[in-house]
């Protein structure tokens, strides 16, 4: 079976700066593949290379079995692309703009644009330049999905979308996958990738730190917990949490009630069980930003080699 997407030692250098360093990726058809990493890690560079917007310094890529450079127009018609920094301008309406993009991509089935717009709650009759950032992003999503391409390349697709629309978008990604389409998407939000992707590559400073499935990633993810507990002493709390191997950096601040904070790595269950013994006034479990959580874990690994 041909891979939907494959790169071999894909490298991109801008002058002396190495943007992408010998990246090997393999994406099975009909799967959702996520790339996460901080800004400047090489996510956008990788995607631009796949679309032949930029050319590799060395190494190679195959997209739907073809070299992006050789595949040309016919190959790009089979791809839906959403750029990371989408800036749409113009006095034309959203509908007119989508009509233009439909003319230069694969055939769009009747009614698809309207149904996508409806799902994302996007008004197609408004002028593009007057749309908010989120609505422009929706237009970008629609133009990427509307011709039901074999491969979707989506750079930070949910940026600017409100949470309800984000959920709808993730549903669309799952539907695409069920249709047999392949989705290659990037994000700096771990939870989003966790919901959507089958496998995840973590990119840092132009190199792949690790490729793993989502469950593995979840098991190793760090979370920050904050809780307020009434009617308890600091010692009692400390004792209760002492057995939790996953809890680190525990701080307890006494006041009218006790405020506790710490970080959890992996399994959250023992912490929940332990805190249940107290009167919990407030509890927050937060996913720290990507840099702290996942990349923190792999930082050592990446500096070792």
């Amino acid at each position: 079976m041909t891979l939907a997407l494959e790169t071999q030692a894909l490298t991109k250098r801008y002058g002396r700066r190495l943007a992408l360093d010998a990246v090997d990726l393999a994406v099975e058809p009909g799967t959702v593949f996520g790339v996460i990493g901080p800004n400047g890690a090489g996510k956008t560079t990788t995607m631009r290379l796949l679309l032949d917007i930029i050319r590799p310094t060395s190494g190679s890529a195959r997209v739907l079995g073809q070299d992006p450079r050789q595949g040309g127009v016919e190959l790009r018609r089979r791809i839906g692309f959403l750029p990371g920094e989408l800036r749409l301008e113009g006095r034309v309406t959203g509908r007119a703009l989508l009509k233009h993009y439909a003319e230069i991509s694969g055939p769009v089935a009747p009614g698809v644009v309207d149904s996508l717009a409806q799902r994302l709650d996007l008004d197609l009759s408004r002028q593009v330049r007057k749309l908010s950032k989120g609505n422009k992003q929706k237009l970008g999503v629609v133009q990427a999905f509307m011709h039901q391409p074999d491969l979707l390349v989506l750079d930070e697709p949910t940026s600017g979308l409100d949470p309800l629309v984000q959920q709808e978008f993730l549903t669309m990604v799952r539907e695409a996958k069920n249709n047999g389409q392949t989705v290659f998407l990037s994000s700096h939000v771990l939870s989003e990738i966790q919901q959507a992707a089958d496998s995840v590559a973590i990119l840092r400073a132009g190199r792949i730190v690790t490729v793993s499935d989502v469950d593995t990633l979840r098991a190793t993810a760090l979370r920050r917990v904050n809780a307020t507990i009434a009617d308890a002493t600091a010692d009692a709390v400390r004792t209760a949490f002492a057995r939790d191997q996953h809890l680190a950096e525990l701080t307890i601040t006494a006041g009218d009630s006790l405020t506790i904070a710490g970080t959890l790595e992996g399994d959250i269950d023992p912490f929940v069980k332990a805190i249940a013994a107290f009167t919990v006034v407030d509890l927050r479990v937060e996913e720290p930003d990507l840099e702290e959580s996942v990349l923190g874990l792999y930082a050592k690994e990446s500096t070792d080699d």
Partner: protein, 266 residues
């Protein structure tokens, strides 16, 4: 299902409002200058005033033959206002077409679709040329309509010839902007190169007009290629037109090759 020239149609479709503005500008310039021929160019007092001015200034402006209808229209509209307006339009449109779109980030999205880079350069250039053709057709028709009432005594064939000359230099300036944009991807460079060529070719021509010793400079000025041999009085200057359109074609080919070779949007 697939209609031809999608990028060309989009370029024109997006700019019809601005084209109306430009058309009004050209109309205003024409209606301001051309009807005044009898009271300025053909007026003996005006001739006396011109005679009192320094000859160097007269030759720099190309006002030497202002007493005839052809000389007047050449000097006031084609050599000055029409050239200035066309230059501004050519610089603005050409720098926006490739480099401006690239700096906005939207060229990247277009190129990710089913179009080639060659197609992008050619269709967008064609849209600019179409708009420049329209402005020149409009000018020729307006001047011809005023020909009798203003007493200009112009021949239609010569009017077409000077229109082709102004179109030629405008296209050349636009192709400088397209080529510089395709080479660099920077709007500033595209604007600078196109405007620079326009200003340099005007200045070179003005200097070359000063003495017969400097006459050879005319052969280096696209402005002189267009207007030095007085197409409005003497008919088409085929050599000059050949240079204008030939160099434009070379610049367009350069733009195609350049955009195909390089990374976009970095």
């Amino acid at each position: 299902m697939t209609r031809p020239l999608p990028l060309y149609r989009r370029s024109l479709g997006e700019s019809w409002r601005s084209l109306i503005g430009w058309s009004l500008g050209f109309l205003a310039a024409l209606l301001l200058y051309v009807p005044l021929f009898s009271s300025i160019g053909g007026n003996p007092d005006m001739q006396a005033l011109l005679d009192s001015l320094p000859p160097a200034m007269i030759s720099a402006l190309g006002y030497g033959a202002i007493a005839t209808g052809a000389g007047y229209v050449s000097a006031t509209f084609y050599g000055l206002m029409g050239f200035a307006l066309s230059t501004i339009a050519a610089v603005a449109w050409s720098s926006a077409a490739i480099a401006g779109d690239e700096e906005l980030g939207s060229l990247e999205l277009t190129l990710a679709h089913g179009v080639t880079r060659t197609q992008v350069v050619l269709e967008r250039s064609a849209a600019i040329i179409t708009k420049l053709v329209w402005l020149n057709v409009l000018s020729v028709l307006v001047i011809f309509a005023l020909n009798d009432s203003a007493g200009l005594g112009l021949e239609f064939g010569n009017l077409v010839a000077v229109g082709a000359a102004l179109l030629g230099i405008s296209v050349l300036i636009a192709m400088v902007g397209i080529a510089a944009g395709a080479l660099t991807g920077r709007r500033g460079w595209a604007t600078g190169a196109a405007a620079g060529v326009a200003v340099a070719s005007y200045a070179l021509n003005a200097v070359a007009n000063q003495s017969t010793d400097l006459d050879w400079l005319h052969s280096w000025s696209p402005y002189a290629w267009a207007f030095h041999n007085a197409p409005l009085s003497d008919g088409a200057d085929w050599g000059g037109l050949g240079l204008l359109y030939g160099v434009s074609a070379v610049l367009l080919a350069t733009a195609v090759v350049a955009l195909n070779k390089r990374d976009v949007g970095i």
